[in-house]
Each structure stands twice: as C-alpha cells, then as structure tokens.
Symmetry: C2
C-alpha cells in the first residue's frame, strides 16, 4: 500500500482495530446512497442514514462509552448526503444535508462493514463439529496454568469449547476458588438457586436429609443437561475436580447434537417426538418451584439445532395431547438410550486439577455410581453463558489484531 | 364429601398439596390405559407408562429431593397395568406387569393432573394486560415494608408485576442493600458485567472518563430495555431510589407490548420491519464485547409477543440485506417515536424509598435529563429473571393452598 505512513485515521464508533488493506479510489453519491470504488475493483454502497447513524463524532457516539447518544429517529426524515470525497489519506468524508455536518470515515472500518456485497460475519460465531466416541476419545485438553496466564492458550481452548462443546483443562490448582478464577478469565458467572459456586461432593449421609439435588447422592447420574427447568438453560458449565479417591464416579460426556442428528437421519416419528412434544420440567424444592415446558431438542427458526433440554430426572407429569403421550416416552427412550450407550460417550476418571468446561445446552454430562466408603470425591462448579465465551474470544482476537496492526 | 376423615393419602411425587374435591368411584384397565370414573361424572384416562413414571415410591422418586431416580427408558418396553382398584379412602391402587409392583395414587393429584380432558395449566402463568398513559396513570403501587414482611402483599405485588410488567414499592428502606433484600424475597439475582448490584448515580465528572454506560452521565435516556446485547435479555430489573435532590431525572416507563400491538394493527410494513429485520446489538467496552442479533420485537412460534429488544443506543452497524436498510430505520423510528411520546408513557419523580420492579423484556424505561449541579441522585439496581417471580408466586400459592387445606 502506498498510503502515507503518517496518516491520522478518523475515529471509529467502537474499540476495534481496522487494518487498512484496500483503499477507496472514488466516492460518489445520488444523495441517498454513497458509492465507493476500491483499489481492488470492489464497489460498495452505503445508505445515507446508515452512515449518519454510525458516525464517530460526539453528537452521535459518546467517545468514552462508545454508546450512541444521538437517535436516528430524531434525524431529519429526509436526510441526504450533499457531498462525498476521498481524502488524501484514504478516509472518506461525507457531508450531510440539511445538517451541513461533515464526518470522516475510516477506510478499514468502511470496508469491513460493507453490507452491500452480502452480509459479513459480525458475531464471529464458531460452527459446531459434532462428535461421538469414534471421533473423540478424550475431550480437547489444554494446560490449566497456561490458560490462566497466556492469552493465546486461552483463545485456543475457548475455540475448542465453542467447536466441540467441551474442553478439559488439567493441573488447575485444587483450591476452592480456582474454578472462579478460570471462570473470570472468561467473563461473568451465572448465579442460581444452587449458589454462585456449587459443590458436588461426598458428604455425611445425615446432610442428605435436606438435599435439593440427586447429584449430592452417590448414585449414577444418567447423562443430562442442567436446569432445563429454566427458561434459559445455562449455556456453559464448569466442573473442577478437587479430590477424587473414591472407587467409581467415572465422568461421562455426550454430544447431544450428535444424538439428535442421528435420530433425525433415522426415524421421522422419533424426530417429531423429541423436537415437537413438550415435557414440563420442574424443580421440586420446598422453597422454589421452577417450571418450563420444552421439547427434548429445541430447533431455531431455520431448523438448526439450538439446544438440548435433557434434565430428565426433573420432569414433571407430562401434560400434552392424550394421543402424544406414548410417542413422547418413545422419543425419550430413544434419546436417552443412545446417550447412555458406548457409541456416543467420552468417559474418563477425574484427576484432581481437571476442570471440564462444556456447553450445557449441547453436551450431556453424567457419571457412574461411586462408593463413598472408599474415599472422598469433591467437584466445585459454576454456570456461565456461551455469550461470555464469545465475548472473550472477540476481545482476545481484538488484542491480537491490534498487536499485528501495530 | 363422605370420605373417612382419618384417611392416610398416598404420597405425591412433589411438594404440592392436592385438595380432594372429587372421589373416584370406579377404575378399570385394558392393560395399556387406566380409566377412572369420578363422582361428578367425569371420566379420566391415564397411560400405564405415565402412571409408572410418576409413581411416588422410592425406586422412582427420591423421597428427599423429589427428583426422579428411576428412568422410564429402563422400564420394560411393554409395561402394562395388570390390576387397578379404588381403595376405601379414595386413592387408586395400580399394579404393573411384568414388575408386579403396586403403587397407590392420591386422588386429588390424579384429578388435577388429568391430561385426557385437555391440557391443564401446569405453569401457572399470568397473561399480560397491555397499558398506555390513558389506562394507567401511575404504576401499580404497594407498600415496601409490607412486601418484605407479608406474603399476601408480596403475592399481590408479584401478580401485578406479571400482569402489567411493572410494580412500584414505596417506603423501602434507603440503605445500600435494601434492593438485594427485596430481590431475595423473590429469588436469585442475575449477575452481569455491570455487577451483582449496580449504581446509577451522579458522580464526579472525572470518574466518567472510564464510564462503560451512558446511564452514568446526566443526559436524558430514551426509553429502552437493558442488555439487548445478550442472548438472554434479563427478564426483570429492579431500580431503587436512595436519594433524589436533583432537578429533572423524571422516570419514564412504557409498555413495549402496547407499542408493538399498536404498530401491528396499523402498518404491515412497519410490523414486518420491527419483527423481521435483525439489528446487531453490541456492547463496546475495552474488556468485553457482547453481541447479539435480534429484531426490535421478538415473537414466539405462535406469533405472540415474546420480548422487546430495544437497547437502541447499543446498536452496532446494521448488517442486513441492502434492500432492508431503510425499512429497518423506518421501523426503529416508528417504534421509538411512539415510545418517546406522551401517549404510552407513565412518568413520575422518584422519591427516596421508591423501588420499581419491571419486566425488562417488555417494559422500556428511561429518564429525562437532570442537572447534577442541583443535588444528588442515586439509584441502586439489579437484574433477575421472570422465572424467579413465577417460582415465588407458585411457592406462595402452594403455602396458601396448604393452609386452606389444613
């Protein structure tokens, strides 16, 4: 690029860095639309209202918070562009009528946010890769202390988490708040009626008289998601092993999307049952009463897998059309039988320091029974949301982009 | 009723109380379905698998947690009922084959959960009543100390909150943690990057240099919802006024469902724009980067209003089909112009001790500008979820039902 090296780019209405890889060579307007021709031949078009709304100037964006202070609905209804030019450094200067205000736009920002050549990826989401026991024998595994200290390792671990729905960190310090330190490397912890952090541990039998979850007993737990009783099932769960000297209690993780996909491909009746018939999930505690109705598998508007709702031991009485009752149970049986078998499950014994982070709206977790006469078993856990992972990935990528642009 | 007064009802698989208003007079089975005739003439039918799955006996339900321990997918696939009788006290005893186990069912529970005569209301939701400035001149208002101490007052306040989307408590103590005490009368507080509790207060100008929200400045805030940048917009917000001696800063609350309904009834193009065209909402902070795509008004699968997404000052650059850009802005203009006008808004000055709880996925909140040279203004707030309100309503109703049954 032959742009001057001492150029002062105009500000952008965000905190991102926008490398300038292409340079505008011409800018024209018919008043309603600004058309920019770039030095690689691309032509981009921007509406006057879009440009005005996204102007990085103090009447439109608070330069501290980068939040909008102007309201596009307060702008003149017939806002127009009266002039547009490409400045010497490659920024684009746009004058708006009837206001008469001129705003300069950063060329890297304009190019990246061009919406006239099809939508761009503004969320930076990571597509899931489904897995079963043949394609994944252990969860993607990273060093815990490295993740706590090194941004590059953390970014790699978080990308695995988004792609496979699960990641395992090893050698995380086994103190009581380590899971919180790992969580806060990512973002905000989700509080619940089980606490900000929760314990899954062997305990004196007496304390179970008031237990509010089967997890606090020593029995096997069939693969499940947590909190399907809530409108918003947690998107993320962290489980950190502090101690494990009992016999049994082997960890089981299963990709619920893979099981759903298998049923979709093999049996239309079962597929209808697991995606259409709603179970009533209900939390039965003396002091809370959470309920939510949802099918086992929730699709988005486009028919894509959105979430698994499989806290099957928190099902209240089925309350659906009489004709759907046996189909609902057939769907439940099919789904959970696949989840309980060897074909889809990744299993391993927790070692102290293991921390598993998984997408609780996709991955089912369970355990085999353990014998609490043989020792002690203690996991510390917390809930978060998938969006915390995506936020951290974006900030880490932003930092990497800023470093490479510097 | 002539049932014996010393009857011992069988247990139920939950913590609820089930008044016995009707008595089974006959029970028959064809093996697959149990048919019960009641003393008022109703006939109810229950599938064998449904009865077995909901049996309140220790192999099926943990009697402490009331969670399921048996798995219906582990039951014999051709489970059947081999015998059924009505016991002298009116409970129904069912014997299952091939297991040979006999389970007794509570008649009040069986009657209430009868699904063969159409679905029953198992969530106990409360339908919204839309409002505007003509139908509501002040928010439904209750005494704060009464809500903290009296379950009946709290229940009435929470029902108003679910119906109108807003409730105001007055005379709540003005200490820094009172909002938390009120919140915890309901349920769990939702954590966010703005903190477990957050402050909206006049502050030295210097501290604004690092502000991460426009709310921390003194300007007007157009009516908006909070955190549309998240996949799960908080369902509930509490704002508690501790001090208010500034001039201005008048509270504005608007029923977003009423505005959406108005647009639905008057303009099909605008309705399409606000319900179909997705904005990218984005939080621009140096350390977080939350983004979510959603239309201003989100409908559920049946076309009912589900939530308003109107954190309009957290819009990132629109990233949609080129042909939809001007329509998106027209929809935004229409929606926000109605929200900013007098026709829909309820406004009032916060008095110290006022605490407003509102459905943040339905009600927009805002304020007029205030002059921070004239005094001090301090609000303390937190987020929760609608499901916490519904859980508390169910538990309060459960307690009332138990009292009246005793």
């Amino acid at each position: 690029m032959d742009a001057p090296s001492d150029r002062a780019w105009p500000p952008t209405p965000d905190f991102d860095t926008w490398p300038v890889e292409f340079r505008p060579v011409e800018a024209t307007t018919d008043g309603r639309i600004v058309t920019i021709a770039w030095d690689d031949g691309r032509v981009s078009r921007y509406h006057a209202i879009w440009l005005r709304d996204n102007a990085a100037e103090p009447q439109t964006h608070n330069p501290v918070t980068r939040e909008q202070v102007g309201h596009p609905w307060d702008l003149p209804e017939y806002l127009a562009v009266s002039a547009v030019t490409v400045a010497e450094n490659g920024s684009v200067e746009v004058t708006f009528a009837p206001e008469g205000v001129t705003v300069a736009y950063h060329p890297g920002w304009l190019r990246a946010l061009d919406y006239s050549n099809g939508p761009h990826d503004d969320l930076g989401e990571i597509a899931p890769t489904c897995w079963d026991a043949r394609s994944l024998d252990i969860p993607p595994t990273f060093d815990g202390p490295d993740c706590l200290e090194d941004d590059g390792t953390l970014l790699a671990a978080l990308k695995s988490l988004m792609e496979f729905g699960i990641v395992r960190l090893r050698q995380v310090p086994t103190d009581e708040t380590a899971v919180q330190r790992v969580a806060e490397r990512i973002g905000t912890i989700r509080n619940s009626n089980f606490g900000f952090l929760f314990d899954v541990r062997t305990a004196p039998v007496a304390s179970r008289r008031s237990a509010d979850s089967n997890a606090y007993f020593a029995g096997a737990l069939a693969p499940h998601t947590d909190l399907a009783t809530r409108e918003y099932e947690p998107g993320l769960q962290l489980l950190h092993c502090l101690v494990n000297t009992t016999r049994g209690g082997r960890a089981i993780y299963v990709d619920g999307f893979a099981i759903a996909d298998r049923i979709r491909k093999t049996d239309a009746d079962l597929w209808r049952a697991i995606t259409q018939i709603e179970w009533t999930f209900t939390n039965r505690s003396p002091v809370t009463d959470y309920r939510w109705r949802a099918p086992l598998v929730v699709l988005d508007g486009a028919g894509n897998l959105r979430e698994i709702r499989a806290t099957t031991f928190l099902r209240g009485p089925l309350n659906v059309d009489f004709a759907d009752v046996e189909a609902a149970y057939a769907g439940l049986r099919a789904f959970q039988t696949l989840a309980a078998g060897d074909r889809f499950a990744v299993t391993f014994d927790y070692a102290p320091g293991d921390l598993v982070a998984f997408d609780n709206r996709r991955i089912l977790h369970g355990r085999t029974a353990f014998d609490d006469a043989t020792g002690e078993r203690a996991l510390k856990g917390c809930y978060m949301e998938r969006e915390e992972v995506l936020s951290r990935i974006r900030v880490l990528r932003r930092a990497i982009r800023a470093t490479s642009a510097a």
